[in-house]
């Protein structure tokens, strides 16, 4: 009877193992795309992502966006933007925005059970706040590039909804992504003729450092708006050169480098216990200590951050050869790292819990099978199998720029050439702006 149970257990695990075999971490699905971006080949990167999505071309969306494909579509959206395929990038960001939102809303207790019992990557993906904010922020750039203020306003409103949610529900008021979002949304409303809404967004942007370029815009908007705040008053008090009334405004947005993506890491249980010594529950601590003492199959798998890229680059932007002062609008890598620091302990704890679970299953098999070598082998095999199946959760939006710099300048109406450059990637764009008009030129140097 015991033997039958043992065989049943072994067969069950074999079924589970064979079903899960081949489920590499997310970073394995994207390694070719990242390598292509590193080599300065965004076109190839998109082809690799399309292959992973199982679609034929850049404009095709996968039939199933309910799982991790939503993340791949986000990755593709950024690369499409870097290739100036703005309409396709709009489509990708819109689709993944809704899919990520649905995944987030659908997150439930079952995901936590999966996370603590099977594998870190078994739960539904929950996008961190900076990713939620950047979807709408980067999509605003697409609409601005195509001159679609109505579409850009939809993204600004969506940004406002998620901003309120992050502030009121997640209690995170100071996410620096909002600085860039506020700058762009303010520009959208300014050019739509809504001075109050523009100032409200600029006020948000001014709460983060480095938006001196806004002083002139605030000065122009203030007489037409009723909105007031201490930051707006301070901006009005600053010295700023008077801008020509018959010119046009150009904003240049340069994203460069790439944020640190997640990579799997394997450490001995003893080291893991040291890392989370203050946080682990006593019962799990005892179980884990027993495992550490046993010295067999006692590794934990968990994700960590790879280094970011492009931290020391200097982005440039010129209009007809004349430089626009560029300000670092947001350090996305810093947001990624800060967010990671908040959850790293919990991630290691859940990895330890999974290890304890594996041990319990293996121990059960050994006890049922008796003291024979077959039972020991089955127990060790079970633990080893479950260890191999424990895929660290390396999911994240990997093609985000590490930093975004922004510049704004008023130029004479007419034809001009805007050139942006960063990390060896350049974009030259001809623009033709009317008096009182505007243009946006962006560059994403994702390497």
């Amino acid at each position: 009877m015991k033997r039958h149970r043992l065989l049943f257990g072994g067969a069950l695990l074999f079924v589970v193992a064979s079903t899960l075999t081949g489920c590499g971490g997310h970073e394995l699905r994207t390694i070719q795309a990242r390598s292509a971006l590193d080599a300065g080949q965004p076109r190839q990167a998109i082809e690799h992502i399309n292959h992973q999505l199982g679609v034929d071309g850049d404009k095709d969306l996968p039939s199933d966006l309910t799982g991790d494909n939503a993340l791949l579509v986000l990755d593709r959206g950024t690369v499409q933007q870097s290739l100036t395929q703005f309409k396709l990038s709009e489509q990708d960001f819109q689709a993944s925005d809704k899919a990520i939102d649905m995944l987030d809303l659908a997150h439930n207790a079952g995901d936590s059970i999966g996370e603590y019992m099977f594998s870190g990557s078994s739960s539904r993906y929950v996008a961190p706040p900076y990713e939620k904010l950047l979807i709408n922020t980067l999509n605003m750039i697409n609409y601005l590039e195509t001159g679609d203020l109505s579409g850009a306003k939809v993204e600004a409103r969506r940004l406002a909804v998620i901003q309120r949610y992050i502030r009121d529900e997640l209690k995170e008021a100071n996410n620096s992504i909002l600085g860039l979002g506020g700058f762009l949304a303010g520009f959208v409303y300014e050019k739509s003729g809504d001075a109050d809404e523009a100032l409200r967004w600029y006020d948000d942007a001014l709460s983060f450092a480095g938006y001196g370029a806004l002083s002139a815009a605030v000065r122009e908007l203030a007489p037409r708006a009723g909105y007031k705040s201490p930051r707006i008053a301070k901006a009005l008090a600053e010295e700023a050169a008077a801008a020509s009334d018959d010119g046009a405004d150009v904003i240049c947005v340069v994203g460069y480098g790439r944020v640190p993506h997640k990579i799997p890491k394997r450490i001995p249980i003893g080291l893991a216990l040291t890392l989370v010594a203050d946080a682990i529950e006593p019962t799990n601590r005892r179980a884990a200590d027993r495992l550490a003492a046993k010295g067999l199959v006692t590794w934990i798998n968990y994700p960590t951050l790879a280094p970011d890229q492009g931290g020391y680059s200097v982005p440039t932007c010129t209009v007809d050869g004349k430089s626009i002062p560029m300000t670092e609008a947001v350090n996305v890598s810093a947001e990624v790292t800060a967010q990671w620091r908040k959850i790293e302990g919990k991630i290691i704890l859940s990895a330890i819990t999974r290890l304890v679970t594996r041990y319990a299953v293996g121990e059960g098999i050994e006890k049922v099978g008796g003291k024979g070598p077959l039972a020991l082998l089955a127990s060790l095999g079970t633990q080893a199998t479950l260890t191999a199946l424990d895929t660290p959760d390396t999911r994240s939006w990997e093609t985000l720029p590490a930093r975004v710099a922004i510049g704004r300048v008023r130029i004479a109406a007419g034809k001009h050439t805007v050139a942006a450059a960063a990390r060896g990637v350049t974009r030259t764009q001809s623009i033709d702006v009317k008096r009182g008009g505007w243009a946006t030129v962006s560059l994403q140097a994702l390497r």
Binding site: R5, L105, F118, V154, I162, T353, V356, A360
Partner: protein, 211 residues
């Protein structure tokens, strides 16, 4: 954490409990991989009734339009038009999207439905849309031929229209940890081009939610 703790402390002879929990959980996570199929609406009448997203669908559009156009049918401006024997020129201008959803194609559908309703009413003569687009391009410049609400009086004069029908959709969009609710407010109005006076206005509501 609790689950793992319980497994460690229970009677180790009971192999079935951890394995059963593992199996149940595993199948719970891998379920739902059914094959997709295409379905024809005429063969499955209820196909239009399910909400697929927080955007606007056919049922929402019909509901909002029906409410607004039924009100327009009974309005004084419609009586004035009827008295004109169908000679009054009316232009239908784009409805503005002031929502948190990209519903431009749905708004275009609303516009076409409203235009069709006006034409079928025989109370007015409706200006052709491509003629309108030409006038907009003339006034705004061909490089930026986008409808500008501030210039409707100019459009109207060029088109020879006496009234224009337009509208806007606004939303109140709220998000919590486990739900997102979008409330739509759909306004339609008729404006007399000569005076700029609003001769009719009505609103309709639709709410969509994901939870």
């Amino acid at each position: 954490m609790l689950a793992a703790h319980l497994v460690v402390e229970r009677d180790p002879m009971s192999l079935r409990t951890p394995l059963a929990a593992f199996t149940l959980g595993f199948f719970a996570f891998t379920s739902g991989c059914g094959r997709k199929e295409y379905v024809r609406g005429s063969q499955q009448p209820g196909i239009d009734s399910a909400a697929m997203s927080t955007g606007l669908d056919k049922q929402d559009i019909q509901q909002m339009l029906q409410e607004n156009l039924n009100n327009l049918r009974m309005s004084p401006v419609m009586d004035t038009w009827r008295k004109g024997g169908g000679k009054t020129m009316v232009a239908v201008f784009p409805f503005s999207n002031e929502t948190t959803e990209h519903i431009e194609s749905q708004l275009a559908a609303i516009l076409s439905e409203a235009e069709t309703w006006l034409v079928e009413s025989n109370a007015v003569t409706v200006v052709a849309r491509d003629r309108q687009n030409q006038i907009i391009a003339d006034i705004e410049g061909s490089r930026n031929a986008v409808f500008n609400p501030a210039h409707v009086a100019q459009y109207g004069k060029q088109l020879g229209a006496q009234y224009f029908l337009t509208g806007k959709v606004q939303t109140s969009d709220e998000r919590t940890e486990d739900a997102r609710r979008v409330q739509y407010f759909f306004f339609m109005q008729v404006i007399e081009i000569e005076t700029g006076a609003i001769r009719w206005q009505h609103k309709a509501y639709v709410t969509k939610m994901v939870r």
